[in-house]
Amino acid sequence: MSLRGQITRFAARDPGPHARIAGFMAHLRAQGWPVGVAETEVCLTALTCLPEPSEAHVRAALRAVCCGSAEDVSRFDALFDAYWRNGGRVRTRVAPSGSKPGQKSGAHAPTAPGRSKEQGKIDRPDTGDGDGDSAGDMSGKLVAAKGRNLMTIDLRELIAPKDIQAAEAIATRLGAALRDRRSRRRKAARRGQGLDFRRTVRRSLASGGEPLHLAMRKRPDRPVKLTVLVDVSGSMSVYARPFLAFLAGLIRADTTAEAFLFHTRLVRVTGALRDDDPLRALGRITLLADGMGGGSKIGETLQQFAKGPARRCVDGRSVVVILSDGYDSAEPQTVGTALETLAKRGCRIVWLNPLKGWKDYAPVAAGMSAALPHLDLFAPANTLASLAALEQEFARL
């Protein structure tokens, strides 16, 4: 093999292949992969089943055992190379550094400084702003300036823990108001529409074959899955506080809910918000929501959502809640098509617009008017209290 020179040379005291596979598993685990002892064992057994110990075969075998999703498959090669091909030096963060340059093209200026924040410099966000500045000067005026300004705001200063507690209560109530979708499955119940034959027959044994006691089954109600998308672009920054608190509360109260932030990009924050400590959760989404307060591309991000994550988390039993003012920097018609795609998944769509509460408000923003025909509910919301007041509306959905 011509690449032999690059293959990791293990130390002479290395105890053998078992330890190396275990080391590889530890390497994957360090990257957050859910692999444990059982997988190590399967890997070792798998290797004994290979016809020849060539690199391609080993790679394919380990991939089949260790991966669990399409995303894993796309990351696997880089991780494999980092461990087995890197002269023994294991880089700790392989995948992000590899994928960065590609993503950057075409991104708005405010995202650039944030990217550098991703690596953990939460206290001094300004350090990464050098290249962001120049990029901002080229493409944007107001947008870029605002982007920098808000970048220094830590969400933990913005939102108090008691806000989150209040939001948790509201989110629970809103969730409860939505719980009305029937399951397709039947379950034993005291009264219901269908006979439970299994129990009826068993009971009729006692009465010599006469089904005296009829056991019934019914279709139980199932909770609705909530997916919330919050616009955190510049124009929405004044409302960020109640909405993010709501988001944090919702995710903590409802284990099936999903949360996304969007500005010029779409970011899934469910995982971060599910952190045990509410304040640490906010710290984590501060890191994730890098372009906050910048421009907005509602149509594009909604399209991205409809074609990507929605396929996984939105179905006929979902309600998608969008919190946005509808001010879009891109082609407004894309909002319409995105919502149309989303509606085809069978979900109900709720758009909460903070501006709707204003006197004489009319949805004239082009993006907003394109969205209207696809909405099941269009309501005002700008504070936690106004969100709580939506309970009635939600129950009617």
Binding site: T45, A46, A56, A60, S69, V201, R311, R312
Partner: protein, 291 residues
């Protein structure tokens, strides 16, 4: 058995597998572990179970999942009508209550559904659990026991262990996220749309009557079509239908008769929006690029 011989066996059934998929299958066979296949619709996930069963002379047992699928339809059910009749008959014969109960919940009255049937075959079958992501979370929980121990517990009868372990293939196309527990029990392979070379091989295996020149054009055209922004991307089955349609229309070259190609597009594009976006001109442009 090696990976290459497995590939050759599958090819004998007209299934051209890429290397990663063949390796995952090989491991699933040798380690006796379930294999989870994910990928877009129409990339041949279901077909592989069929090809594997045919290549190895095993029985194929298929369970199509849907929302609301429950144990009674997937694992087993008691034959209630027979049980009721039997109770009546027993009363007339004067059988004791205990004897009746013993008999009522015996194998005689058990209706096997696909999962139990797969466990009770003397020779190991291929069990295809199709579109597992359409079933709900409760059903996944039933599956976990079966996939971990290859056993089913029936309260009245006890635990039934597999006579021979079935080869389990699960398919999913991302309707919903599968639980980590299920993923961890399975080997995994992501099936993508085939590369040009593989797709040419598939076409040659399935439609040998298509000439090499036309075959290359068809594959190039379909691959170009997959790069377009469509609601429903055409899969392999659609590509094969398309070549069959062109064969039926007697075309030897895609640029020969734009109208006929446009008509044959009905086999590739399955929504009105897609149909509208790929006009005769666009189709010719794609075909031109492909040629």
């Amino acid at each position: 058995m090696t990976v290459d011989s497995l590939k050759a066996d599958l090819a004998g059934q007209g299934y051209v597998a890429e290397n990663d998929l063949a390796m995952a299958l090989h491991l699933a066979l040798s380690l006796e572990r379930p294999l989870l296949l994910e990928g877009a619709a129409g990339v041949g996930k279901t077909e592989i179970a069929r090809a594997l069963a045919a290549a190895q002379g095993r029985e194929l047992i298929r369970l199509q999942c849907y929302e609301g699928l429950d144990a009674a339809q997937a694992i087993y059910e008691w034959n209630y009508q027979r049980q009721l009749l039997s109770i009546r008959a027993a009363a007339e014969d004067g059988e004791t209550g205990q004897a009746v109960e013993q008999r009522l919940f015996s194998e005689e009255f058990l209706l096997e559904r696909p999962l139990l049937r797969a466990l009770r075959r003397p020779t190991s079958p291929v069990l295809l659990i199709d579109e597992i992501d359409r079933a709900d979370e409760e059903f996944e929980a039933y599956l976990l026991e079966i996939l971990a121990d290859y056993a089913v517990t029936i309260p009245e009868l006890g635990t039934i262990t597999a006579m021979s372990r079935p080869i389990v293939i699960l398919t999913a196309n991302g309707t919903r996220d599968l639980s980590d527990a299920l993923r961890r029990r399975c080997l995994y392979a992501y099936v993508d749309y085939p590369s040009t070379e593989t797709e040419l091989n598939i076409l040659a295996a399935r439609c040998p009557q298509v000439s090499q020149h036309l075959g290359q054009q068809i594959v190039g055209f379909v691959q170009a079509l997959r790069r377009e922004d469509l609601e429903k991307t055409p899969g392999i089955a659609e590509m094969l239908d398309f070549s069959a349609a062109l064969g039926g229309l007697g075309l030897a070259d895609l640029s020969e008769d734009p109208q006929a190609v446009s008509v044959a597009l009905a086999t590739l594009l399955k929504t009105s929006a897609d149909r509208a976006s790929i006009t005769t001109e666009v189709a010719q442009r794609l075909a031109g690029k492909a040629a």
